[in-house]
Symmetry: D2
Subunit: 342 residues, 4 copies
Amino acid sequence: MLNVSIIGGSGYTGLELLRILLNHPFVTIKSVTSRQCAGKQLNEVFPSLPPLNLSFVDPSVDDISKDSELVFTCVPHKTAMDIVPKFLEKGIKVIDLSADFRLRDKNIYETWYGPHTAPYVLKDVVYGLTEIYRDSIKNASVIANPGCYPTSVLLPLIPLLQNNIISHENIIVDSKSGVSGAGRGLSLTSLYCEANESFMAYKVGEHRHTPEIEQELSVASKKDVIINFTPHLTPLNRGIFSTIYCNILQKDFDVASFVALYYKDSPFVRIRKGNILPNVSHVRGSNYCDIAFKIDKRNGKLIIMSCIDNLVKGASGQAVQNMNVMSGFDEATALNIIPQYP
Amino acid sequence: MLNVSIIGGSGYTGLELLRILLNHPFVTIKSVTSRQCAGKQLNEVFPSLPPLNLSFVDPSVDDISKDSELVFTCVPHKTAMDIVPKFLEKGIKVIDLSADFRLRDKNIYETWYGPHTAPYVLKDVVYGLTEIYRDSIKNASVIANPGCYPTSVLLPLIPLLQNNIISHENIIVDSKSGVSGAGRGLSLTSLYCEANESFMAYKVGEHRHTPEIEQELSVASKKDVIINFTPHLTPLNRGIFSTIYCNILQKDFDVASFVALYYKDSPFVRIRKGNILPNVSHVRGSNYCDIAFKIDKRNGKLIIMSCIDNLVKGASGQAVQNMNVMSGFDEATALNIIPQYP
Amino acid sequence: MLNVSIIGGSGYTGLELLRILLNHPFVTIKSVTSRQCAGKQLNEVFPSLPPLNLSFVDPSVDDISKDSELVFTCVPHKTAMDIVPKFLEKGIKVIDLSADFRLRDKNIYETWYGPHTAPYVLKDVVYGLTEIYRDSIKNASVIANPGCYPTSVLLPLIPLLQNNIISHENIIVDSKSGVSGAGRGLSLTSLYCEANESFMAYKVGEHRHTPEIEQELSVASKKDVIINFTPHLTPLNRGIFSTIYCNILQKDFDVASFVALYYKDSPFVRIRKGNILPNVSHVRGSNYCDIAFKIDKRNGKLIIMSCIDNLVKGASGQAVQNMNVMSGFDEATALNIIPQYP
Amino acid sequence: MLNVSIIGGSGYTGLELLRILLNHPFVTIKSVTSRQCAGKQLNEVFPSLPPLNLSFVDPSVDDISKDSELVFTCVPHKTAMDIVPKFLEKGIKVIDLSADFRLRDKNIYETWYGPHTAPYVLKDVVYGLTEIYRDSIKNASVIANPGCYPTSVLLPLIPLLQNNIISHENIIVDSKSGVSGAGRGLSLTSLYCEANESFMAYKVGEHRHTPEIEQELSVASKKDVIINFTPHLTPLNRGIFSTIYCNILQKDFDVASFVALYYKDSPFVRIRKGNILPNVSHVRGSNYCDIAFKIDKRNGKLIIMSCIDNLVKGASGQAVQNMNVMSGFDEATALNIIPQYP
């Protein structure tokens, strides 16, 4: 059994880790920490959970390190950079769900997020997009779990850029997210009456997932990729849908078959052909990324549709997928969740 | 392995049976039938499902009977009464999700639904409210799976009536259902723009679940129980919430502890105490029935709140629970689904 | 022209007052106050509003009293009791949307809300349920605008109790509210992901609208009325739906026609007959209260369905209706809003 | 008074015309036709409407022509091409809300929609994008009321193309629509449980509004414009949000001020500057089109956000706006509707 702890477990990603890990046959949850909820039963904070007799705690890194072999850090960025190095020093493996270690270049991080206090960790970090970095993840001690938007964008684009099927220029990403992407914190835009019957773009040209996407696309294409990225907020609990516009270099290329082959050993990537197009409702609650391609022959544009559940493949599900790979378990263990529809 | 088939599998209850049974370790799905969808892949009709390589078929009862030991009939009422007897004649066990065999008295059935063509089956039917009829279900050949509203109402009330804790008179049931209760058929009231930002009562004093609830309450209380039942439609996909008003006979009785004890061996009934009240979001996707009690000491009323996921405990989940009991499997097999929140 | 100001205008009731009053032919809005938003343009805080060139201000009572003849106080209870008397001293008419002056009996107020610092005002207050107290409102200097739940409950019940058509005992009120009833403040239960796909009861047997309802029902019946009141939260922006159960004294009485006659001069009460039942979507954005009646002859219960838009008839619309009556305008001025459907 | 009739009034655009026209001081509604609902009271089909004592009828063109000076045709495309010419022959003005007369080139129409049986009418048709074609609309006898998507896309783009501020190449339009855009007909994708908690693209590269948008952009730019247009379905009742990506020719151009000046006499176009970005909730129920611009200086892309209420500015509101212009009324008559928020 693998002993794990969840650091900062009182938000939606913490709850989603619990939902998945409580069904994991090879994992024991040792501690779930939360400064704010310490002392409360997990069931009190999250009444959806089954009876557990487990309380939130607020122990020291030392205490957690005594009985945990791996921790999931679900704390905000800027906090993660303080905590993650401490676990690594103790020899504890870390899967970090914050943004703090996703950008390999400290300078780019600091442009978008401000000062980084633990840049020396960056060289050891593996970017946890499982399907792409599976081999490096196997031996990693610290994983930067990808952002939700980047996961939905990178899975379809990386195979195409690696193989020069599309141009690395003029890539436009128009993404739509459900409200749980903003977390469980109190904010005006997260209120029901503000988000319901509402649709808007936000942080246009300024969203912090932009450099993360560009970093990985640049690695794939071996060129500097600059994209347009526009996130939108849409009234649903879960789900990210990305519509991506790019220029295909060979108009008659069978993109869907190529990408399906590329991911033939990746159980969570579903390439849609024919009449079935991706829909966030088809992946709800699951670790799937559904992808479809359409070439507009009138102007040579390739339109890509890609969707995930932001709390699963976009956060906690992919984190468990990475844990499975790091621990030698079957990659899909505890993740064979059939989407809940409707 | 138990070989089962799903008869009429192209609706939401069929899909939900698939979601549960595909994870069942002791069940093999032999056929999923649908006249309308015959020939289509299950994934084509329900793209949320994982890759299955299984198609809808439209075989004869004979053909199904060759390889199935148990069938779930998910056809409309009036159709079930034609099909169920045919399977029983072949020695196939049946769990019927329609209303056709829920009312023990043919005359009451005919008052609410019209002519019954297979009343001779009624004597063999066990009403499939698992927690109450577990022992009879073990040896049953045909189960009438309870309606969604009745399940939410009966679980809290039966222990109280059996033990004379409340009066059998003046029971008022005010229930609220999500839209999936109406199924996947096309109707004006099921349209998004009609049901969204909408709340209404319907079939006031006339809903067909009324005699079903009254039948079981009368059995429990050994008196003729007449209730008021008012169903409402509320804008959510899944969930039934019933608020029940009744007269408690002993004002200081600790109802919650009593009912918790009554259901101590029933893993899917959760009695809520303290500050946590039932919410359909706490049971979404799961087989739980969450119940809370509150006595208004000013007038001796007991207010009961009860909620379920109408597609799980209110339909397909309870059907699988009954199958487990009939087959000697642990009652919770494949049903340990942690609710998806949010 | 009537000069009015809105005190505490940065919430949903303030915005709704603006939506209505900006179309009022006989009203000039002098000031809209907000401590929190002072200095900001109204359009900045509420971009839905048309271009206005009007800013939130935070002036003294003195300053407002110089140019306003009537104020709408939209501040929280406990704050209203400080402000309202000051305006009254200056001879300014007040329509108070808080709960502070709704309960005539200081002791009952203090049981439910805590200390009242301005009980001497209570004797002058008229309870602003326009249809019932129209004559007193004409000459009132201070109006306690009714709560949203009470409005939906009192309009159907008062005519029946006044005329001994129903018993004053065993009245059960099961109400369901949209999320805007909780205002625009930040709270966990008001978050989109908490309220969406969610349905729950809250404050069961403890909601502060209970004594307000009981007060007015007792006046109508000339007996002490004690009710059961259970509010629920339902996922919609606007709307309250109340289902009321009571005992009818004459089983064959034509309740609908009687109540329709009672309200024949009240343009905002619509009595539904035949197949059309009330639905919050039918009143959205309007000042209507839609009501239907159904007698369950099996047990003599009268089931009443009643719905309003909580922000209009349940708050700002009724406030303007009261202002119209107080000012000698036609009662429906600026309130002939056709519901927006869908 | 202008006598008008609504042909095919039982859908959402018919209802929305009624909501607006019933408040129009210079219009009398003579007939509302519907084959399906003939004989039923309007209030019976649309209980949201105020008491009207008006029934759906199914008269001949002759009968309508006797008392109506102008008709709104809300029938499906292919049906409109039969009816519109008949009214024109009688000298009745027509505002057609279908797609049948929007494309000036019969051949393009036939490529996307199939045979056109009344191409001789096309030469008289004025495309009813009021802000652009106001002068021609004044004297028109037949108006092709624009599609909902095109309205949201054309209003921001036309001024920029007319003035060579952006390139006519590589324009990408990513649009998101609420469900009412699909009308009130019964279809699987319009069901609540299918559309709620759902987000998908549809008719990718194939939507029939594509040639309509391209036609008007080509007129504006005097070049053949080919765009990418991807519509999406988002879970809200009303609203279209279009995100448009194009190449700006002068990177430092103040686009917002330019377009604001362009529309200075158009009361329904609101150009957003600063922090306030368009949101469908800001225009709900109103005739506004809210637009914002953002230049991504890293790659010279201009990102345009534009939103409307699809049933108002995208259909019935714009139709009334056109009627006002045709009839010499103030363009905003009956359209000064303040958006309902939340």
